[in-house]
Symmetry: C2
Subunit: 202 residues, 2 copies
DNA sequence: CATTCGTTGTACTGATCGGTACAGTGAAGC
DNA sequence: GCTTCACTGTACCGATCAGTACAACGAATG
């Protein structure tokens, strides 16, 4: 997808992963522009030749980091893959909150951080959008399932409802992170769920 | 507040403003780390000696930019200063949407962009938080007014409701900007208003 | 006219940036 | 054992970064 060289040996794959991991962590804290390749390479233990062996340039590394973020995010909310009842949606929001409770405090969404900084970047912004859509698509699928089961109103729009849920997640995370207080996310998720269930049948 | 030298003459004030304006615009597009002082100075027509005459360093310039953002944001939604009825809240959300309709497309919240990038920056993050609280405080005051007038339930918590409204604004703006589609913000604001009015009396 | 002080222009520094050049190493296939 | 090719280490490049030094300007005040 984004690779310059595809890391055809286990050793190469380990090196590539170490670079992406270090970049993901640093860019999460310092942003893309605030993270230099030298820092990434120093943190990963790799050299510059490795970096440019696996990635054409810094942008392509960022693309890999975006993918990594999406994997991490979805990995933290496994319930999103099995949304077949309204209770599953409750479970999903609980998992979302638990991530931050376990972390000892509200943490930011790495994709949200990127979304602000990347803004209208011609190459990167569409990829962030894509990642969000991939995330959101699981909510859409869940809502479609509920509609098929007759638990969601036939005239409800899963895509639009899912988008509304995502805005709550993102807004809640932004405020919660800024204030070091999960309340903002808790309330946002509760309101989002209430809004979704407002379209429930029975 | 943040100034190194306070620009005591009209000429000095013009120069200082030009620097902050240029920095605000560039940082809105390219982020803080992505905006060099050289670019700011070139765009503002000022020289480096002016920059360091009015600001101790780049961080202090960013602090002035944050203040500028708050002024711009509040200036675009004057209804927020006079929230004395539920209709005023409707007007406020309409003004919020009109800004982006007039701009020809959904634009990002400059504070939201900053919030992602400065993350946990020891000096900057608290200032972004402060700016958000200043913004939110007008919503709190409006809700308190409604409660005093008996139009909001006595047991409703204005601070918490205002925070919920802000999460909708921020989440809606983030998604709307990313997707170049105002729908996300429209829906988010409608849901937020519905939630607020759920605590209305009569 | 002289002093003063806010203001300005320009030239510079050392560090760091993204990116390149190129020689070398390691393990697997023949 | 030899070739091959993925992989690695290091030194380097021009550009740009934030920040500094310092001399000079300009408009008031005396």
């Amino acid at each position: 997808m984004e690779a310059q060289a595809a890391a055809s040996t286990p050793r190469g794959k380990r090196t590539r992963d170490a670079i992406v991991d270090a970049a993901a962590e640093l860019m999460y804290v310092d942003g893309v522009a605030g993270t230099s390749l030298d820092k990434v390479l120093a943190a990963s233990g790799a050299g510059k030749s490795q970096m440019y062996h696996y990635f054409k340039n810094k942008n392509q590394l960022v693309e890999a980091v975006i993918d990594r973020y999406l994997e991490q995010i979805l990995g933290n909310q496994p319930a999103i893959f099995e949304l077949t009842s309204w209770a599953d949606f409750e479970t999903w929001t609980e998992q979302l909150l638990d991530v931050h409770r376990r972390a000892g405090g509200p943490i930011a969404c790495p994709l949200g951080n990127l979304a602000g900084e990347v803004g209208d970047h011609p190459q990167l912004a569409p990829l962030v959008d894509q990642a969000y859509r991939a995330w959101e698509s699981h909510l859409v699928r869940g809502l479609e399932t509920l509609r098929e089961k007759g638990e969601l109103a036939p005239d409800a729009d899963p895509a639009r409802l899912a988008q509304a849920a995502m805005t709550s997640v993102q807004g809640g995370l932004l405020l919660a992170h800024l204030r070091h207080d999960l309340t903002a996310l808790e309330d946002a998720l509760r309101i989002a769920l209430t809004h979704l269930r407002g379209h429930a049948v029975s």
